[in-house]
């Protein structure tokens, strides 16, 4: 983490100040540093995760605590996982950053850059299985070469360099044509792989640091706004000068370059292809974390996007803070609040009784009268809870199941069928052509059809007899007024 003190002024006092104030150093000095650091490794740096929800963190801390208590007894770590978490995220520790995102009530956490530095330093203390030497040396050569070559302004020298490179490539190609292919040895491959892993982790931690530095810049600007005495114009001028600093700062430009590189489809395709081919290398087949490394770019992209998102959010809020109206109103509001506060303090022992202020409701009171239930006098209901068991032995339950329905449409079509042959027909004629199937109920239905129809007449002077046969073969007969159906005009 970069500090305000210039690097060349790291004297006794500066270092002592760091020891007293730096979050990373305080983590190293903390009583429960081993617990905190091992937990940070398990939750954040190990799986390369950021933005973890509180519950998820409590769960992983519980796992760590469970193992430790098992080994050292319950007393060694007496606090709850959540308490440790709150402690580590407290402003005076600042090892974790706690924040809330839109739409979620669960707080989220991320490791601060200072804490990450400590984690990585502690990791480096353990030493490596073997020291990456050759690969480091080659990259030093490569970087040095590029540094020297691309800083060279003399075209002749540059052309000569390129020519040398081409000669070297030609010679290499010739060797391969001759069947002399040199393959990286297994140790060499492992060496390079290890360096790749280290570089990838460095990059991720760079992103975290960049984000933190943007936040720091943001805070500086906010402080400037809060303490500004001059006019708004002067303030804006000063801030724009500062903004210029942010985007043209070393960090800003490096980050932008990284972003552009990652966002370029060409470089992403190339990266993916290279990583894919790296998994095929035989010498690396036994590496556990091979797969993790080939998914590097999947870790990078969200990390870069998050940093980009932070910058976007910061500038949006800054704009809001600098808004004309807000700027002027904030000053006025602060004055008023101070005045109200001193007034309230003075009246503390005898505050105004009763209703004091009103505030507009944020909604329109629409009361729909018909949505309200009307008054209904309650009725006394006598509840007789004595249950008497009736004797149902001789009740025919079959009556319940032998309900039937008279289909009037069927009857109408019967009438229509008869009327197709004749101008008019009596009910007796109709039932003769279409025998009654449902007994008296059917006759009643015919009767009803007749009263509803404009084309039927009921003649009370005459009588007619209609008979039908029951299922058991017996004949029933009904005598009723004569009903005559006529063909509709």
């Amino acid at each position: 983490m970069t500090h305000q003190t210039p690097r060349d002024a790291m004297d006794y006092y500066a270092i002592n100040a760091l020891r007293e104030n730096h979050a990373g150093w305080s983590l190293l000095r903390a009583q429960n540093a081993p617990l905190a650091i091992s937990f940070f490794m398990a939750a954040f740096t190990g799986p390369n995760q950021r933005n973890l929800g509180r519950q998820q963190l409590i769960d992983s801390l519980d796992d760590v605590l469970f193992g430790l208590r098992d080994a050292y007894g319950e007393d060694k770590f007496p606090r709850q996982a959540s308490e440790y978490l709150d402690d580590w995220a407290a402003p005076e520790r600042a090892w974790l950053r706690k924040y809330y995102i839109q739409g979620q009530d669960e707080p989220r956490y991320d490791l601060t850059a200072a804490a990450e530095d400590v984690v990585r330093w502690v990791e480096s203390l353990r030493g490596r299985d073997f020291v990456a030497t050759q690969s480091r040396l080659t990259s030093i050569f490569a970087v040095l070469e590029r540094l020297v070559q691309q800083s060279e302004t003399d075209p002749d020298v540059r052309l000569k360099e390129l020519q040398n490179q081409r000669d070297a490539i030609d010679a290499e190609m010739q060797r391969i044509r001759d069947g002399n292919i040199r393959v990286m040895t297994a140790p060499e491959a492992l060496d390079h792989f290890q360096q790749l892993t280290a570089l990838a982790k460095d990059l991720l931690s760079d992103f975290r640091e960049v984000e933190q530095n943007f936040r720091k810049l943001d805070r500086q600007v906010r402080e400037q706004i809060a303490t500004w005495d001059g006019t708004q114009g002067e303030l804006l001028e000063s801030i724009f000068a500062n903004q210029q600093d942010i985007s043209s700062s070393l960090q800003g430009r490096t980050f932008q370059g990284c972003w552009d590189y990652l966002m370029s489809p060409e470089s992403r395709r190339k990266l993916q292809e290279l990583l894919q081919r790296a998994t095929q290398i035989e010498a690396l087949a036994k590496m556990d974390n091979l797969h993790a490394v080939t998914n590097l770019h999947q870790d990078w992209l969200p990390a870069v996007e998050q940093t980009q998102g932070t910058v976007r959010q910061l500038s949006q809020q800054m704009r809001r803070l600098l808004d004309d109206k807000v700027f002027l109103e904030n000053k006025r509001i602060m004055q008023l609040i101070r005045s109200v506060e001193s007034g309230a303090l003075a009246a503390r022992e005898q505050p105004p009784p009763g209703d004091f202020m009103t505030i507009a409701a944020p909604s329109v009171d629409i009361i729909l009268p018909f949505e309200r239930p009307l008054y209904e006098p309650s009725r006394r209901v006598m509840v007789d809870d004595v249950v008497e068991t009736a004797d149902d032995a001789d009740v025919d339950a079959g009556a319940l199941f032998s309900q039937f329905h008279v289909d009037k449409e069927r009857l109408k079509s019967n009438i229509d069928a008869v009327l197709a042959e004749a101008e008019q027909a009596t009910l007796a004629e109709i039932t003769a052509a279409h025998p009654i199937e449902q007994g008296l109920a059917e006759i009643v239905a015919y009767y009803q059809l007749a009263t509803e129809s404009d084309w039927a007449s009921i003649n009370p002077e005459a009588e007619q007899q209609i008979s039908w046969q029951l299922e058991d073969g017996s004949i029933r007969e009904a005598t009723l007024e004569q009903i005559i159906f006529g063909r509709p005009a």
């Binding site: 669960e106 809001r320 609040i337 109200v340 005898q350 004091f356 202020m357 507009a360």
Partner: protein, 214 residues
């Protein structure tokens, strides 16, 4: 129901009411519309701002829309001569609740100035500490706390504090408080308090504030 059907059929030729307008307007009638609460309706509102403004102005209401903060609500148009009956109720607040709103407003402002976060989250204890200075010394702390809890509950009802889910005694201070507790409101608070203190200091001693908010 027939007239409605008729007007719908003739509306084809006239300017048509946009489909989403009724749901946007009725939603605003019901209370504050937050962008994060209903993204779809929020987008409709952004597209229909002028129609909504025209519509509610007929009722003497103004649409207050803050795009960057992500909220919108309806407000009675300030017009002292107006004979319009009030559509939007005014809620009466006790002195303590009013003061709590002022202190929360101050917190939001400081939060905006000092931090880049968007959501101001406070625990009940923080609210208690914030208010403590302004409450009379009392030997019965439990009673003081109960009263403060009642005040907090009232502010939650008003919609300026929101209890977080799954976290006991933790509240989010709604940013919309900034729109309601504005300079004008604070000015009124300040002058009422000054009047009250004048009556306290007066020869007759304590007297109720002369304003009756009914």
């Amino acid at each position: 129901m027939n007239p409605a059907a008729d007007s719908a059929s003739t509306a084809e030729t006239e300017t048509r009411t946009p489909e989403e307008l009724p749901s946007v307007v009725t939603r605003l009638f019901k209370g504050v519309l937050y962008a994060e609460g209903d993204e779809k309706l929020w987008q409709s509102l952004l597209g229909l701002t002028s129609q909504v403004r025209d519509y509610v102005s007929v009722l003497g209401l103004d649409l207050i829309l803050d795009e960057s903060e992500g909220y919108a609500f309806l407000k009675s148009r300030e017009n002292p001569d107006s004979t319009l009956p009030r559509l939007i109720a005014r809620r009466t607040l006790t002195f303590n609740v009013s003061l709590l709103l002022v202190l929360l407003r101050r917190r939001i402002m400081e939060f905006d100035i000092n931090s880049s976060e968007v959501r101001l989250i406070m625990t009940e204890q923080e609210i208690v500490d914030m208010v403590a200075l302004f409450r009379p010394e009392s030997s019965n702390e439990a009673r003081t706390l109960d009263r403060l809890r009642a005040d907090i509950k009232k502010v939650v009802e008003l919609g300026f504090l929101r209890k977080l889910k799954g976290q006991a005694d933790t509240y989010e201070v709604a940013r919309i408080l900034k729109a309601f507790v504005d300079a004008q409101w604070l000015e009124e608070f300040d002058s009422r308090l000054a009047d009250y203190r004048a009556t306290l200091a007066g020869p007759l001693g304590a007297g109720a504030s002369e304003e009756d908010s009914k």
